[in-house]
Amino acid sequence: MSENLKKISISIRKNILLMAKSAGSSSAHIGGALSIADVMSVLVGEQMKLSSKKNGYSEDERDRIILSKGHGCLAYYAGLFEFGFLSKEDLVTFEKNGSELLGHPVRNKKKGIDFSTGSLGMGLSLGIGVALAAKKKNKSFSVYVILGDGECNEGSVWEAAMSAAHFKLDNVTIIIDNNNFQQTGSNEKIMSLGNIKSKWESFGWHTEQIDGNNIDEILSTFKKISEIKKPKAIIAKTIKGKGVSFIENNNVWHHSILTQKKYDEAINELNSFL
């Protein structure tokens, strides 16, 4: 399984770069998409019950995903491609005039995008509403929400955090992409997170801190926590730009232009992992 997921994660990364290149001079959020490629691979390739032509999960069964860090959409779109929701032709329309794939996800049920996001700090509240609905209707689906570490600067994240525990929502799992950077610098410099693990724990969440770029560890963590009767937070320690050495930990690539030359260089590096 994990070999297959590793292949998917490389494919996700290559499509992230393809879309970033197609966006051309309008730029793309590259670093924070590459950092969650492995989490995305495990979610769409294994963990989540998705509904598509490939399988028959009904509306009552299929899991929901909310990309609260909406600027990580390149990884999301690439994940939807792996699962057949989007075609290659769709991907290269990214950020083009009139495209359905903008720089932050726009609700589009046909394309498998359930929620619009982009303004930080809102996705978890939405997820709690969805999870409450599942509980009330005795539906079995789970809700996954991906947040950024910088996003945790937003106060609304903590309103939502407090309420998930209060409402005993064990059907909510969040993954915090802890890549240590936000738009204009490191978390430490802009707004330090302190002990992020203990913060979530103190809000009543079961919390795991893992290597978020290690597919085996991501997989085993999801399995380990599946039966825990609390809302669950996975703090995924990741590398911003993971997989492309000239992008890794270089915050210039938070939002930048990927030229053909740099694209070729990046793809060559990813191909060497195959």
Binding site: V106, M122, G129
Partner: protein, 323 residues
């Protein structure tokens, strides 16, 4: 809801908030997927009985309004019929972006009820008044805005919204207890369709919320001065009834009256249409003239902002003298 003379009197005496509580209690009986969400204001919103009668349909999210709107949107996206309620400024101003993204942009359909809007909480200061909600919300697409004229209209608006939810709606509740009744019997209420309450050929008054009753009183006194004022209840501010405004185009004076800032509210909505129609005469916009005044009780503040019946009449008469 059982609309009869006795109930209309009762609702009028208890005011819009408590009437809202009775109305949702009734809706709870028939609507299976109803969810009523508050942020620690169950008593203020008249929801204590609802909370006991339908605990599974009630959710208190604590003093966290941003979370209130987000959770409401999540429930709505799973096909719940959601009503959110808290004090108007906290619901609208604090959550402006949650409303934009979750309800306007993403089109999750939620009915927001803003209690104690306008000036009624003037003793508590302008943190608790709300003179900006219509202006702020009017600029968000996919959202309707209703400002009921009295407690019966509050009931009718709520029923209309909950039973036919084709978009998110904000219902703005104004006035105190002993909220004067505009309507003493049942009538046809349609979202987006203004109601002419009094006919008259000299001037036209467009009004909403508590100012509808004031306008009726004003029209009676003007009539004694041989001025026949048409009074139009513009209960829906968005979408504005363009036809009703078009019908006023020949008036030598149009007056808009609202318990709201004159920027962004009913007066602005009327002026936008009048401008498109090329209206050549005067439009007098009565309301709060873009200021946070000193505080005071409701009656004091209405008068302070020129919204007492006497001040409205004086303003109309002096304006007419100059025409």
């Amino acid at each position: 809801m059982n609309i009869n003379e006795k109930n209309i009197k009762l609702w009028s005496s208890i005011g819009s908030r408590a009437t809202f509580g009775l109305a949702v209690l009734e809706l709870g009986k028939s609507i299976d997927n109803l969810m009523v969400l508050t942020s620690d204001v169950s008593t203020s919103a008249g929801l204590d009985r609802f909370k006991k009668a339908y605990p599974e349909k009630y959710l208190d999210v604590g003093i966290a309004e941003q979370n209130l709107i987000g959770i409401a949107a999540g429930l709505a996206s799973e096909n719940y019929n959601v009503i959110t309620t808290t004090f108007a400024p906290f619901q609208v101003m604090r959550c402006c972006e949650q409303i934009k993204v979750n309800l306007g942009y993403m089109k999750n359909k939620v009915c927001m009820v803003g209690i104690a809007s306008g000036l009624v909480l003037g003793n508590l200061g302008y943190t608790h008044c709300c003179i900006e909600d219509v202006g702020v919300l009017r600029s968000i697409p996919n959202l309707k805005i209703i400002s009921p004229a009295d407690t019966l209209e509050t009931v009718k608006a709520l029923e209309a919204v909950v039973k036919n939810k084709d978009s998110s709606v904000y219902i703005r509740l104004t006035g105190s207890s002993n909220n004067p009744a505009v309507y003493d019997h049942d009538y046809k209420f349609e979202i987006g369709k203004a109601i002419e309450l009094v006919s008259g050929e000299h001037i036209v008054i467009f009004c909403c919320g508590t100012m509808v009753h004031h306008s009726l009183e004003v029209s009676k006194i003007l009539r004694k001065n041989n001025i026949n004022a048409k009074v139009v209840n513009m209960h829906t501010i968005k979408p504005i009834d363009k036809e009703a405004i078009k019908n006023a185009i020949e008036a030598k004076l149009i007056v808009s009256i609202e318990e709201h800032n004159v920027i962004g509210g009913l007066g602005s909505a009327v002026a936008e249409e009048l401008s498109k129609l090329g209206y050549k005469n005067k439009h007098l916009t009565l309301g709060i003239q873009d200021e946070y005044s000193e505080g005071g009780d409701y009656k004091y503040l209405l008068d302070r902002h020129g919204l007492s019946i006497e001040k409205i009449i004086n303003k109309i008469l002096t304006t007419m003298e100059k025409l």
